[in-house]
Subunit: 375 residues, 4 copies
């Protein structure tokens, strides 16, 4: 392999920019052998692509994503366009590109499975963009679970709440329409993060029980002001049975007033408990049962160089990493998988399929009023 | 009615002492017309009762609770003895006493209903000891829900976690045996607080879906060291559908490492959200959607004289009330109900029956794997 | 000594009520041999005293404090009246009463010394009402300092900030007039708590350097609306050199917007650091340098039965004590000193004289612009 | 001016890497017209410079900083080498380079003034690396002060505490030796951040009063183990009088157990108060006196796109920026000053001279025991 990896990015919005920043930074942060190059960006027109390339620092640009996925000089394609992703991903794979696709990977589980099968058949690295578990704190949380510091895990409470749709007068958009976003609303959009995080920390679930609800049943159309029906859930609550015997719950909402990036979790073990909140991504609350009773309490652990990956960003503790740093770790993991050192890439397309299946099971449970198996 | 109310207290443990303190304090705190008198205490022997009377400041004592409930000079009987409470309560009612019975009121719902019926037939005030909702903060929370400050309530998350049984080597006791504590373990012991709090804040539930689990399946007998089976749940997770349309979840555990008095809740409304944690009982987190975006965030509201009942304890804000003050408010509510000014006493025996029914429904749900109606 | 201690209380305001509550509760809380009796209360008129006695539960009352301090049946007099306290205290001592006087003990240091001398000559117990150090948390903090858990103490930062005078339109009152409150404003009123707390934790100061400021220089008279000068400081900042070599700072303000009961401190030692905030009086933040770096952070220690005095209020951790419980501990200490078991009563009149001297030194420092010795 | 700015960086340690990351990112983050290029890096040898260039993504490298500062293709030189900086800075200026020099700019105030004079004479942009005020939160804090949201500012409390020297067995290094680090220890190293922050928020100080202390008076030499004297302060406490009439205090320590990046401040105003802590750099605590008393409390404001610069990093609130993002803002400010749009660059060399003068005044105050003027 050459010592460069040429990246093509489809999309120049929130995530396209985040990918660009990570591609620019990751080599210097981690001292990588294979240096990523921000080579080409695609948007919906040549003009906007030209502007995006200049702004985001890409050498080349195109208004046609098909040119990007078929460009012979590119090694990796990242898909940051709105749904649907299927065609872009399949075409990229068909041209032998490694792929990082933003979540949700697909609108349906079948689609996700199709993409997974294609990637496996082609032997390319295929990653999905659940980047929140990449914080040093959540990597550390996983380590504390895995190394037994918390003892046997007995309970998990996962939450992902935001309030970007709390205002009932906000117009309807694609997220709230079944044909575009799928049957699951907050359950799909935010629940996928929450399910993904639980998978990262605890492994797969076997069964779920769910309740969903649309809070603001109608919203105005942006163009007409006419009130139309919201077609999928604003919030969802789940009970979960994990394969390792842990039970727990998930709660997601896109209308939870006051919460901005409320991805949080509590993991209770027989020897300790940890609590994490993405709004304070550079610390972890940790309780150890072995502490002397008189001196015991939840410790607010500021993340530092003794925790995973932090030291590559900053040698001094407590200085904090940010959202974009999380994407940088994600791109590092992608590159590591491509260059061969990390065969156990998480989250790959199989992990994305798993997330889709949990959502399917939750929707089934809502209809039947009983536990539904995750296939 | 005379201007004194003579109290007899059965039991001199944790709650007997708390009742004694409240009886001594409540008149001065609230400037009551009817002054309570700590008249008689009953424990299991004359000798221990004599010590308790001296220590806790009662004029009279007895080693036989039947003498207490039948004493003609007593107006009110509070039951702080271990389960079973049934006979004590029914006898006290039969003698025309007003009754405050510590939770759980009964071992079964039928028993609780029997007591409720007896109290109603006798026309006495009959209260059950869910005192946590009596904090100024939780009274204020209820007011914010009721007065519309939070808009329409859309979600509730209630938690009651403690770790007093987190140590797997602690010996088994009555709480873990079905014949003494009932079929529900943490679900009954801590869940009753959590269910009671949700009832106080939001009213009754219609249906629940539950999952329970015994974490430490065997514990040593204190006397023999022989390991015997724990017979009821260490933790429980519930989904709840309230009559007012709100959905939510409850989580209770007696083995949740690190939590000491972890009764907490979050109430999400369309206009605001509030969060309360009993470990910080003198503050409330409050978010208001109407705040300017640039200046908005959860407000940590320190409780003060502008909140319910606080000013009677202290005229200056932020000084804090404690656990025993909560019991003082409870006794004040009891006295107010007796002297006639508060016909809407909460929680009365009917409320205790409701809590039992929710627990029954949860146990049913565990068996059927589906939603169970609260009768 | 008889097994009762008869208390007379002068004043029925904030602190008079708090003393009444403590007198009613302390016997039951701590199981005392000598049971305190709320015998007599004095206010400024017979009518108001009668109302106060009924409300606060005193057997007798008077509109003339001289009758109270000279009453032969009383053992203890507590002074909760507004300044000046001198005559009440000296008369009570002259009649052989033990005395608890609310802070500030005196308007001047000379007065405080006169009272101290009188109490020592009479051999009575003479206590001043700095009750904040009586929380379980601050008792525990002192223990952690004394037992070496924190190593050598190297820095202290004490704060007492409130905002009860933040509104510039509030009328002037006695606190802001030199002839009534003395030359020190917030420095005297709140600084005395802060200085007292530092004395409790670290012992005496040798030298101070201070800066004071009047923020709202004029306020309206309540009756006339005429704006008149505020005569003493709204805030003060001090540097302090303690006798044990520790250096530190104090900051006090009565206009610090947002703070309600902002008495807080941080004690830094070579082996650990602790942080306390009176607004969260039932917890302590504690860092131990010996913790593994990867797992280290400030522990939020919830106060429980393994900490001083808490278990007498409640056997279960994390339930919380409140402001009035703090006064109950104070009265317990007073009784213990009277009945002989606690010769090292803190804070006695000598400690109050110390606080006055620190304030004097601070005022001197403000005038000279240099360090001033605490005589 | 061309549309690129060629950067040369001297040093490849903590700050050299941070500058590299910022140079790589800043164009894409802010969509700059003038794109910075990471052109050349200098370290102490050709070999290490080659490794650094490869690792950090520089096109060229040199083992001789003189070659870098005199390279005709470079537009900007950033100095990230250890002290002394004087010669590097003066040479770079002499060659017409714009300069960003890491703090401390100089070992003495005279040196700093010499550099300031040289930069002004040459007409180059000359910035010093106080990057902490560049967080969105601290930019927002400054705006809230400037726009009157907090009313008249009445008090400031600034803190910068870390514990990197809390272990008394850590060997002595250059920071603790006067000939290398100067007379001021923590006062210079951390105090400069704290003084700089206060300057950013409130403007200049007129007078200071200080107390310093060496806590660990001797430390082992790394090579010999021989214990030698620490020559400058481990902690310092200051009182400060600002030109705008505000009074306040500063506290800095390099041995404050438990604190990792404890740069924090509280700004009290007549209409509101704000509190910031660098360990939680993506939030601000804000109290507004205008809030209804019943609903008032400190708001935890999560930083989002309605706050300065955040939206360029992430369009969604609460996701968080990190330490390196702060340096990116710094480089953006530097570029803006160079390209002409930002004549009021903060902090320039004059601001660095100011910081030196405050430290000088503090040292004078320690010697005289009285207030010292900031010249």
């Amino acid at each position: 392999m050459s010592d460069t990896l040429r990246f093509g990015v489809i999309g120049a919005g929130f995530m396209g920019k985040a990918h660009a920043l990570a591609i620019h930074s990751v080599g210097a942060v981690f001292g990588l052998d294979a240096r990523p190059v921000a080579d080409m960006i695609a948007t919906s027109s040549d003009a906007s692509a030209a502007r995006a390339a200049k702004r985001l620092g890409f050498a080349r640009h195109t208004g046609d994503w098909r040119k990007l996925v078929s460009d012979p000089d590119l090694d990796v394609v990242t898909v940051c366009a709105p749904l649907p992703h299927r065609e872009m991903v399949l075409e990229a794979i068909a041209h032998g590109k490694h792929v990082l696709c933003e979540k949700p990977l697909a609108t349906t589980t079948d689609e996700a499975m199709e993409m997974q099968a294609a990637a496996e058949a082609a032997g390319v690295v295929a990653m999905v963009g659940f980047n929140y578990p990449k914080t040093p704190a959540s990597q550390f949380a996983r380590a504390l679970i895995a190394d037994g510091t918390l003892g046997e895990i007995v309970s998990f409470r996962g939450v992902h709440v935001e309030d970007f749709l709390a205002d009932p007068d906000l117009p309807i958009d694609w997220r709230m329409k079944r044909d575009q976003a799928g049957e699951a609303g907050a359950l799909g959009d935010l629940g996928s993060h929450c399910i993904g995080m639980s998978h990262w920390l605890l492994g797969p679930a076997l069964e779920v029980m769910a309740e969903t609800r649309i809070i603001h049943r109608e919203r105005p159309e942006a163009e007409t002001g006419r009130r139309v029906a919201v077609e999928n859930d604003d919030q969802a609550e789940l009970l979960v049975r994990f394969a390792n015997g842990v039970t727990g719950s998930l709660y997601v909402s896109r209308v939870a007033t006051g919460h901005k990036m409320g991805l949080s979790y509590e993991v209770v073990g027989t020897e300790g408990t940890l609590v994490f909140d993405q709004e304070r991504l550079s610390e972890l609350q940790l309780y150890l049962r072995s502490d002397d009773a008189r001196l015991s309490g939840f410790r607010r652990v500021p993340i530092g160089p003794s925790h995973p990956d932090y030291g590559d960003f900053c040698p001094a503790p407590g200085h904090g990493t940010g959202y974009n740093d999380t994407v940088t770790v994600e791109i590092r993991d992608l590159i590591a998988a491509i260059t061969g050192g990390k065969p156990d890439l998480w989250p790959n397309f199989a992990d994305a399929v798993y997330v889709h299946r949990v959502i399917d099971a939750a929707l089934t449970s809502v209809k039947t009023g009983r536990w539904a198996a995750v296939d």
